[in-house]
């Protein structure tokens, strides 16, 4: 296979597409409350030894910085490593379709019971805690930001424009991201990084 770049890691026996689909469907459905990458690590690296630790972590790091949900990217990465393009699609479908069906079922169920007052309050509380989870993700992401003027200013600029002033996100990101990449590149040229 021409895309088998990673032959430097010991290639395990060929994994069947059905096995990939099964594992990712399991991970997708079991992942209540998030932390999917932890589940994937356990199932793929520890239990089945389909992939080396180092290769997994490299894919995780790449998936965290690139656009796309982290777990979606990680599924694509693992599927690609195991069986190329068809493996990536299989892993992605296994990961996404069962939760998608569940979330739609919950949405429909919710619409039927929307008139119940205490349930409304319950969902309010869940939403508030879910915002708390998102803030936590933001704090973790902030820890990966370099403690220098440029990157910190970029972070604050986005928080103030998109969060406080509520400017539309898309044009702001299209302007700020190239500037941030340029700053990072200039800093690494100077050897500050």
């Amino acid at each position: 296979m021409s895309s088998g770049v990673s032959t430097d890691t010991a290639a395990p026996a060929r994994v069947s597409l059905l096995a990939i689909l099964g594992v990712f469907a399991k991970i997708g459905v079991m992942s209540f409350g998030g932390a999917l990458s932890g589940w994937m690590h356990r199932e793929i690296v520890v239990r089945r030894r389909w992939m080396e630790e180092e290769d997994f972590l490299s894919g995780l790091a790449l998936g965290q910085i690139m656009p796309g949900a982290n777990v979606v990217n990680l599924s694509l990465y693992i599927g690609q490593r195991l069986r190329g393009g068809i493996g990536a699609v299989t892993a992605l479908l296994g990961m996404l379709l069962p939760p998608m069906a569940i979330v739609l079922a919950l949405g429909m169920l919710y619409e039927r019971v929307a008139g119940i007052l205490w349930l409304h309050r319950f969902i309010d509380g869940v939403a508030a805690a879910a915002i708390g989870l998102t803030i936590l993700v933001g704090i973790k992401a902030s820890r990966r930001v370099e403690r220098r003027l440029g990157p910190v200013a970029i972070l604050l600029l986005l928080f103030v424009t998109v969060g406080v002033l509520r400017w539309p996100m898309v044009p702001v990101v299209l302007c700020v991201t190239p500037a941030s990449l340029l700053l990072a590149w200039l800093a690494s040229e100077r050897g500050d990084a």
Partner: protein, 174 residues
């Protein structure tokens, strides 16, 4: 044709897919912008969908699937999901194919240094936007802050417990 909701969903979610730098939470503000600007649903409904997506299994950006469903039924759910998951996946796949543990460390580092502040700023902005959309109830702001604190303190705790407890507390306090 211009008002076709399926086309509108694609127009909203394709750019967001490509800009979801650092993951799904970074486009929460963008999704909220679109929902509000296009008057797709009330803020109340949007917050409910956000809560459902976060409490259900799978990535939190399944919020897009729910928004699509609310706007245009099952076809809307499909279009929104495809628009959100396919473009970023194509970009990621193209890069991951070339990616190897032992190559490209330098540009990986430059990319990571440049994108990390964008991701962090957007996720925190998204949290604030959603928090404001949920209304001014001090109880809910307190619960959001308390949930963050609890999970910082107990990182191994399954967040589902915190979500459930927050729901119960809100019902009991009234």
């Amino acid at each position: 044709m211009r008002d076709n909701p399926l086309i509108a969903l694609a127009i909203v979610f394709i750019p967001l897919s490509l800009l979801s730098i650092g993951g799904g939470p970074s486009i929460l503000a963008g999704i909220q912008n679109a929902v509000e600007a296009r008057a797709w649903m009330s803020e109340r409904d949007f917050i409910d969908l956000f809560a459902i997506a976060r409490a259900a299994p799978g990535p939190g950006v399944l919020l897009a699937t729910l928004v699509g469903w609310k706007v245009a039924g099952i076809p809307g759910a499909l279009v929104a999901s495809l628009a959100l998951f396919v473009p970023s996946s194509i970009v990621y796949y193209a890069i991951a194919r070339q990616w190897s543990t032992h190559r490209g460390k330098d540009w990986h580092n430059a990319l990571e240094l440049g994108l990390a502040p964008v991701a962090a700023g957007l996720i925190l902005a998204g949290s604030l936007v959603i928090l404001r959309a949920s209304g001014g109830d001090p109880l809910l702001w307190t619960i959001a802050a308390a949930s963050t604190a609890i999970l910082l303190w107990l990182p191994k705790l399954n967040p589902l417990w915190v979500l459930g407890a927050a729901g119960v507390v809100t019902v009991m306090v009234g």
